[in-house]
Amino acid sequence: MPRNKTFAVTLDQDLCKGSDCYICVNACPKGVLAEGERITSKGLRPAQVKDPDACTGCRICETLCPDLAITISDTSQAATTVPAVGRRQPASPSSGGWTTSPGALKPGPHYMMGDDACAEGAIAAGCAFYAGYPITPASEIMLRMATRLPETGGVFVQMEDEIASMAAVIGASWSGLKGMTATAGPGFSLMMENIGYACMTETPCVVVDIQRAGPSTGQASRPASGDIMQAKWGTHGGVEIIALVPWSVQEMYDLTIRAFNLSERFRVPVILLGDAIVGHLRESFHVEETVELFDRAKVPGAPPFGTEEEAGVPPMPAFGQGERLLITGSTHNEFGIRKTADPEVQQRLVRRLSRKIVAHLDEITDYELYYEDDAQRMVIAYGSTARSALWAVKRARDHGEKVGMLRLKSIWPFPGEVIRQWGDACQELIVPETNLGQVSQLVQQHATTPVSLVSQTNGEIMDPRRVTDFLLDGRTKLAS
């Protein structure tokens, strides 16, 4: 049969992996390709083009080569030119930063459940994506988001489990949306691996944990604060984390907004640690006329995983902007290129992930003081327990006790310096907690004064009389 076409066979020997493959040598029906003779510096013996004139252009070698090392071109046609597709389309530039938004709810007083206020806070903060899985006592957040997101142009997905929920929120964040999920203890445990992924890939998102009495299934609808340590140390590897602790329906709203702002500001997952009390509690709260919002910077072309500053927060473009992002949970350089055996890159990355939070402690830390002026003893409290504690402090003061209170609104990074100062200024620090002493241990680490724990682990709101008794008698009974 007359040949009316001729073919050029090119085999890139730098790409060929040699004799353990040789698929092309075996596949070629015409003996065009053959075993190689030259051994490369990598110790491989790449295949060679031995009889190019015999090529019929069947291209089976080109199709099978696992390394795209073979190119067959029809020389009777014009040379193949590679179009310039390596270009980058510019991302829609946005420098991010603070803006004032009108908010989502009517300004003024509202009466609702803490879980609902959390969902409303998210909507006000610009949350446009929610993925979740049902769990008591957090389900009401999901229920409200399922209604509110479609109303506000957002996306709601109920996933098959909490692992998938966390995954979907991270995926949506890289698609450019502010995302959130909410859960309780068992689901929070399942989210841990992907929370670490969010830390490593610097993905802004909000995770709400409405804490319930554990361990394990425990008491599904009953409150506790047993997940404080888990929030920071639950994911492997050891990272800094930001966690906020609301004590009221008002703060379920306000601190959810703040959680979104901090997550966008520092490109981190932010955890809102509520509990079954503030989640299910219904009370009035106030909605302001406007909301201050922070949005991530979307700067095209800049390295998305590194800055000149040791504590810097790099810009974060979204998918589909032509940035060709490389995002990975493996150790990576500033462009996202995996460097899984480079000690310097690992150290620099881990350090920056930590420094960008620790160096901004003042900006993150949030607390309130009560009756601190004459306080000889200070109660350190957080979350719903702080309401019982403040009630007790007032009673104790009625009895002439000079006791004040410091209420933590942010718990991670732990404000050790604030604790140290108040420890120095007082004779005793008292930490009431609905766990076996997670925060009291932290307080002890930072204070030079004696620290007392008032612990209650019966699945009920902290009994304010227990705290009062301690403040008046200086003793407490262990939880039965």
């Binding site: 795209l68 979907a168 992924y197 589909g320």
Partner: protein, 256 residues
């Protein structure tokens, strides 16, 4: 085409073992992408952990999200629902997608978002040392089933179809042109598409099962490819009878 595909769509050569079946898939996939004219600037590849997951990340010149083990389909669900204009493609291995991530796979099939999921099935865990997976054939040798796998494997086509996937396909890397055609059909399909890509792992699977399977000759991967061709047959030919127990390949569209 090799050079064209490399320069248009890849960042760097792969670190895969010589003759890796995943490389043949990568080749067929890029042929399909080029033929379709898929816009890589509007395409996100999501992949988990394992050799299969390394096909897109860090090799493809597109947005790539390289995530935790088994969760690629779940991450992809977030990416796609948050921005439906993106082409969202999941590529991973049988360990990643069908074993640890099996739950996400069946739920994605049920949910029927227009995701494309390619499971590069090499019948074991390659990267971590050749352990048994949910698709290892019964009796085959792996590093954790030295006496032969006592458990039955998933048939991923049946699994995905049973979960409601409207497009399911199975093609072997030993038939790259059929594979490419299938990839084009999967990528062009307007709903959820799943493909069980019969891949090959010469390093872990080939060596362990060399004696049992009779892989011979100086190029073991070639022998494996030849063997694979002999174990499959178009599903149309097998619909009436299948006396030799061949693995059906082809495409299954849901009757709408």
């Amino acid at each position: 085409m090799g050079r064209v595909l490399r320069e248009k769509y890849t960042r760097q050569p792969t670190p895969f073992c010589p003759g890796c079946g995943h490389g043949i898939f990568l080749n067929a996939f890029l042929h399909a992408v080029d033929e379709l004219g898929l816009d890589f600037d509007k395409t996100v590849f999501v992949s988990g952990i394992g050799c299969g997951a390394w096909v897109p990340s860090p090799h493809f010149q597109a947005d790539t999200l390289h995530v935790t083990h088994g969760r690629a389909v779940a991450f992809a669900t977030g990416v796609k629902t948050a921005n439906p204009d993106l082409n969202v493609i999941v590529i991973g291995g049988d360990g990643d997608i069908a074993t640890i991530g099996g739950n996400h796979l069946i739920h994605a099939a049920r949910r029927n978002l227009p995701l494309k999921v390619f499971c590069l099935n090499n019948f074991l865990y390659g990267m971590t040392g050749g352990q048994v997976s949910a698709t290892t054939p019964q009796g085959d040798i792996t590093s954790t089933t030295r006496q032969g796998n006592p458990e039955r494997p998933f048939d991923l086509v049946d699994l995905a179809r049973g979960a409601g996937a409207p497009y399911v396909a199975r093609f072997p890397v030993s038939q790259p042109r059929k594979l490419k055609r299938g990839i084009i059909n999967a990528l062009s399909f307007d709903q959820f598409a799943f493909m069980d890509v019969l891949s090959l792992c010469p390093t872990q699977y080939g060596r362990a099962n060399r004696a049992k399977r009779g892989y011979e000759g100086p190029s073991m991967i070639w022998s494996m490819l030849e063997h694979q061709k002999g174990t499959v047959a178009p599903r149309e030919k097998l619909d009436s009878e299948n006396p030799e127990g061949k693995i059906p390949i082809g495409e299954w569209y849901a009757e709408s």
